[in-house]
Symmetry: C2
Subunit: 197 residues, 2 copies
């Protein structure tokens, strides 16, 4: 998605530890006009697929998912992160290891909002090691819902998450896949770029 | 806003401790068509006001704010909740006391995304004791931005937050104000209802 890549090249900041900061338009300040284009692109890529629910995870996935949902005309459910010890029996739950914070947290979805008959598209802003997405997939599987695929705004192609999920047969549509980025020069190469061949 | 009140009457669940659960359409599963109508209603109420940014707080405010922003054609910024001790100098920060959890947490917004020249509309899903909204107002004041007002989906009119903020001269537009609710009968009375006079 060219307008997205241009935006990442222009405003993305590469930080130590393979961090790509895009908080001017994606996950702190949010450019809603861009989100609308992103939603249309997800719709185009999943054209013809039967989808009746979008599932995302708090917090930064919610904005993208809600705007994208307008192209799909389906409700959005967001998985909640919780550190609560006692999880009630009326939720699906799984554990996710946070790469950034190094700790493990639970994510939950109420059973009444995810279950058999649901055809689910996952949406999130970032995919790196894939732990959050794996958690969402696990919730879908536990619920008996059908996983249609996942739409990701930015995938870090140099981390293992995306290719591992593709290897499992998950349909993964990432709108910009960063193949490499250089903290010193600020250069970002996307998968499929001519410069990358 | 009548369609919102009808939805609350139909799907809202009253729980012990003055809890109103509306997670089938507002803050866990999210009805995006309803969000779109809510966004248009905020736009109608703030018609003529100069607004160039919407500020909300994670997590459940983000969906409403992003969909509403499509009616205003402005970016959204969400304040992040953090328990991190060392806050860098490049953020505005304030403390918020959580009514539900009884603890105090920090909320932050990067200085580059909120400051002088910004004319800010606050948006959130719920207003009860008003602590989260007070925190957002404090961030706006610290940043030097101008506070235009606040749009709230559901206000609990029987808690002190809303009227206290109106008393401070804050322009507050709540789309449904719950005046009373009865856990035993399930009856919900809204401010302005004939039954309430």
């Amino acid at each position: 998605m060219e307008i997205l890549k241009e935006r990442i090249r222009k405003e993305g900041k590469i930080k130590e530890g393979n961090v790509l900061k895009v908080d001017s338009f994606l996950n702190h300040q949010m450019d809603i006009e861009l989100f609308s284009e992103i939603g249309k692109e997800f719709k185009r890529r999943f054209e013809g697929a039967e989808i009746n629910k979008i599932l995302t995870i708090e917090a930064s996935g919610i904005g993208i998912a809600c705007v994208a949902a307008q192209s799909f005309h389906v409700p959005v459910v967001f998985a909640k992160k919780t550190q609560t010890k006692n999880i009630a029996g009326d939720v699906h739950t799984t554990k996710v290891q946070s790469y950034t914070h190094g700790r493990i947290y639970d994510i939950i979805v109420a059973k009444e909002f995810l279950g058999e008959g649901d055809k689910v598209l996952l949406i999130d802003d970032f995919l790196a090691n894939g732990k959050a997405l794996e958690g969402l997939i696990d919730l879908v599987e536990k619920s008996g819902a059908e996983l249609v695929g996942a739409g990701i705004v930015i995938e870090k192609g140099f981390q293992a998450g995306g290719d591992a999920l593709r290897g499992r047969g998950i349909r993964l549509e990432s709108l910009a896949i960063v193949e490499s980025m250089d903290e010193k020069t600020g250069r970002i190469v996307f998968r499929g770029d001519a410069a990358n061949k």
